[in-house]
């Protein structure tokens, strides 16, 4: 008589399930420690000393941000350049910038932005992705969205749009009025500018590089 095979033994599989689950969970927790250290928000001195952080500090709003191909990494990465005025200033202190970002992040949740738009690609698919919205050429000096609002800077144009979205339709599908105040709009634009500075491993690909290619222009 042969012994019962371990492969048909329920206890063997129960133990295997426990070990596999435990091992996967421990690996996840270990990776979480590593990732948490890498995604913690940077500081103002990081920015001044040229220390690259995956999520820069809030004072990144004092700088020009671009999205450029990195030959080393094989995809685009946000590049933080020289100083750039944001609502007329480029000297926001860590505290002031932090308050603006806090207001904007709260606003993004209080207005349910994520239920129409995607942020970092997550959310609703009813409206454009906002991950790199700050870098969208349409909001730039030659852009149609900036021209539409009649404002002279990117940040003022975005803030104006956010306060009166249904006055500036860009498609039959419009953004509704969400009661966003001037102060909240400023916070939201700061939040969007900070968002565009996050290193997203090259997502979205070719952002803003191919304007109007579909129409053969």
């Amino acid at each position: 008589m042969t012994n019962k095979s371990v492969w048909s033994d329920s206890r063997f599989w129960q133990r295997s399930a426990s070990w596999v689950t435990g091992f996967a969970a421990i690996l996840l927790i270990w990776l979480t420690f590593d990732t948490s250290a890498q995604i913690s928000m940077g500081t103002d001195s990081d920015l001044q000393n040229g220390v690259t952080k995956r999520v820069p500090g809030p004072t990144v709003i004092n700088y020009k941000i671009t999205y450029e191909m990195s030959t080393k990494r094989g995809h685009e990465v946000p590049v933080i350049g020289e100083k750039e005025k944001f609502f007329g200033r480029d000297d926001y202190s860590e505290e002031e910038a932090g308050e603006l970002l806090h207001l904007g992040k709260l606003g993004s949740q209080a207005k349910n932005c994520m239920d129409c738009h995607t942020l970092l690609g997550n959310g609703g698919y009813y409206a454009p992705d906002l991950t790199k919205a700050w870098l969208d050429p349409a909001w730039g000096p030659e852009g149609s969205l900036q021209a539409m609002t009649g404002k002279n800077t990117k940040e003022e144009a975005m803030a104006e749009f956010l306060q009166h979205p249904s006055q500036y339709p860009t498609h039959a599908r419009m953004m509704p009025n969400l009661g966003i105040t001037a102060k909240e709009a400023k916070g939201l634009v700061a939040f969007l500018k900070h968002l565009s500075s996050i290193d997203t491993n090259g997502f979205p690909r070719n952002f803003g590089k191919i304007q109007g290619a579909i129409h053969g222009k």
Binding site: S16, A25, I39, A110, N112, D115, D136, G179, I198, F203
Partner: protein, 477 residues
Amino acid sequence: MANNHLTGIGSESKQLATWYLTVAAILFGAQLLFGLVAAIQYVMPGFLFEILDFSIARMLHINALVVWMVFAMFGSVYWLLPDETGIETIGIKVGKLLFWVFTAAIVVVVLVFLFVQVGPADETTIWFITEGREYIEAPRWADIGIVVVVLGFVFNLYATGMKGNRSGIVTVIMADMLAFAGIYLAGMFFTDNITVDQYWWWWVIHLWVEATWEVYVGALAAYGLITMIGAHRKVVEMWLWIEVAMLFGSGILGMGHHYFWIGTPEYWWEIGALFSALEPLPLVAMFIHVLYDWGKTQGAQEALGKKTSVINNKPAFTWFVLNAFGNFLGAGVWGFFHTMPQVNLYTHGTQFTSAHGHLAFFGAYATILIGMMYLAVQGTNGIKVLRSTKTSIWAVSMIAGGVLGMTVALTLAGYVQVLVSRAQMGATWAGYFDGQSGMWFSQAMDWRLLMGFVTFLGFLLLAKDLLTTGKNPVHER
């Protein structure tokens, strides 16, 4: 005594189960209704503009989805607990009280979503109106309430499991529900760092739907096979442990596929690709498991010269088999389509995700939970063999056909979005709307709406069947 528990007559636990399942069915209807509003808005953007905007309709659509499934999951546990443990559920009075607390809280949250909608950019909005985080928008006060209710539910489960006969199925559910409850805590904080925010947000969303909920479905399928076709418990429970090993083994680290583009390090590409590519495997196993056991028990009966079916609940078993197919197809195949980072770079955040979401939530969860509703109808009416009626066949065909139709339409829309908005136009505002304006995209959205209506009509038939079939004389009593 055991017989009483089996029939569902005289068991308070089973009575509570029917309450949970009833509210679940109502919320399922609400989910479909708000889904229809959102689908209409894709076709007619002016529909309910600045009254019930897409953001609100969609928020109600996906929150009703999550909540009805949680309700049906709780109800199913209260239903199977007396059968598995052989005793009445302990602390059932507390369980019943918490049911009313839970239901009242959900009603308040929904009313606030509907009529208040948004708030000023401060903490009071997060506490009392909306947290604005997809799927778990419920404000903080409700989060705390949900934790209290879930702790009560877990207490009922543990007290009963430890006192009564703790079967393999109950053991799996006990471990799984503790993880399910604990993970919710990861979604209850505010941070200015959106990368940290989304990192932990996925702990709730992913570890629910791609780990703990799947294991729960495995346990339900095991219970269903034993009760509906008399499958051998030893075989079923061994399969269940294998499924747990495979589901948690792939699903926990499969979370990496949500960490490709949110600001997290590159190593998640490899981890996410590897483990999420393995995620369909347990779903194949579950599929084989259900069909194999069905064939095996039927064959054994026919070998004894009996030609009758081994199934004692036709509509419920139909939904369970549909679960085996739908889970593999919706979660497995449609998930695998876009889980590789090379592909996901372009498909992330498009209608592709939406197509996968529709078929996966339906295939993996809605099907089996509707099956549990039919088991409850059978039990509470003391029916030996519950047969399919014309209505139940039309209901399942229209719902499954409708969801499949929506999925195909959304997949086509996803292709347009990937090719036009992403690959050609580089994901800008203008590129987004170029994709949305294309003929292929808008026709896909017309089909999605039509298929949504088919699904909703199917739901009405399902509701009628669940309410009336218990009294139908065709069943064997």
